[in-house]
């Protein structure tokens, strides 16, 4: 359960972003969360709410966009979605693909008061 550490890192980062723009009133935070990021979506929602208390982000919404895994196959030269998170070879030729999407853990955008 490291989602609390992740939530605190997020808040620090958004604070930095806000300060660099002269202070923002953040309504919602959009997060891209890869299926292979090692972070649980529901646990993060819970921890985000708890970690925001008493900060300038208290009351803000966390909107999580789950990013599916995309493999690049060096044999087929194509991108593909694996059959499941447990089967990460190229679905066509079974070559060991490279994971090119699915590790994301990033703040994509902020919805701020106009």
């Amino acid at each position: 359960m490291h989602e609390l550490s992740i939530a605190i890192s997020m808040i620090d980062q958004i604070q930095e972003e806000s300060e660099s723009r002269g202070g923002l009133t953040v309504k919602a935070v959009h997060l891209s969360l890869g299926l292979l990021s090692g972070v649980d979506k529901d646990a993060l929602q819970f921890c985000y709410k708890a970690a925001c208390q008493g900060t300038f982000l208290e009351g803000s919404q966390l909107v999580i966009e789950v990013v599916p895994i995309v493999l690049y196959c060096p044999a087929c030269l194509t991108e593909s979605r694996p059959v499941s998170i447990q089967q990460l070879a190229c679905p066509e030729c079974r070559t060991a693909g490279r994971v090119i999407r699915g590790h994301e853990l990033e703040v994509a955008s902020l919805e701020v008061a106009a």
Binding site: M1, M10, A28, L88, L105, E106, A108, A114
Partner: protein, 232 residues
């Protein structure tokens, strides 16, 4: 003027601070010629016993040190100190993983030039350590024969972020009805092409192969850094 909210693009990695610190650690390690290997696994998979054996073996040819992470107690560091002179315990308190800042603090007073290899034993946990870069060159994931061969399917993320898998406690395989083929198949399913080594710290089986692999990687890393330095 509308009072509907506006959207600001940010695209910032949540663990940017950790990633930046890990990168600077990696640069420091490389500048000093140190090759860094981390070990992740569930609790009780035999990480410390394995490291005791490995430190003794590798220590005959190389200067090795170890960092060990645990929530509480210094027991592991005390055990490892019998095998290597430079061992530092990182007690994480309630934190379930190591991060780059803990590594930086732990090595603060070390002279890296006195080392060839640094081993980092993460907290026993197959979930959280996967998100944190520690500045290591190679990440081992350990799976013991007593845990069940479907662990890779249950924890695909940690297997996918590791470079080499070690099947530990091979001396117990028969007693535990360990299905060796299934274990290999499951590892290849979540991390196609992954190298897998079978070891027993108790009998010594496979330990030489791990020591050889690390010696080779250390030499290759130093060669490529020398070539890079010559080209730049």
């Amino acid at each position: 003027m509308s009072d509907s909210p506006r959207l600001i693009e940010v695209r910032a990695k949540v663990l940017k601070q950790n990633d930046l610190l890990a990168r600077s650690l990696r640069e420091r390690f490389h500048a000093a010629g140190v090759y860094v290997v981390s070990f992740v696994s569930s609790p009780g998979s035999g990480k410390t016993r394995f490291l005791e054996g490995l430190l003794t073996l590798v220590g005959r040819q190389h200067r090795v040190a170890a960092l060990v992470g645990d929530l509480a107690t210094e027991n592991d560091a005390m055990r490892l100190k019998r095998a290597a002179s430079r061992v530092q315990q990182i007690t994480t308190g309630t934190i379930c993983h190591l991060d780059a800042s803990m590594i930086e603090t732990a090595i603060q007073s070390w002279d890296l030039a006195e080392l060839d290899l640094l081993f980092i034993e993460n907290v026993g946990n197959l979930v959280c350590p996967s998100s944190y870069d520690l500045g290591e060159d190679l990440r081992f994931v350990l799976l013991s024969t007593t845990e069940g061969e479907d662990k890779p399917l249950k924890y695909p993320t940690i297997f996918n972020t590791a470079d080499v898998a070690l099947l530990t406690k091979m001396d117990m395989a028969e007693a535990a009805d360990f299905d060796r083929d299934a274990a290999h198949r499951n590892i290849q399913s979540v991390r196609p092409g992954m190298s897998v080594l079978e070891v027993s710290a108790k009998t010594g089986e496979g330990m030489e192969a791990v020591a050889t692999l690390l010696g080779d990687r250390l030499a290759a890393s130093r060669n490529s850094l020398t070539v890079q330095a010559a080209q730049s």
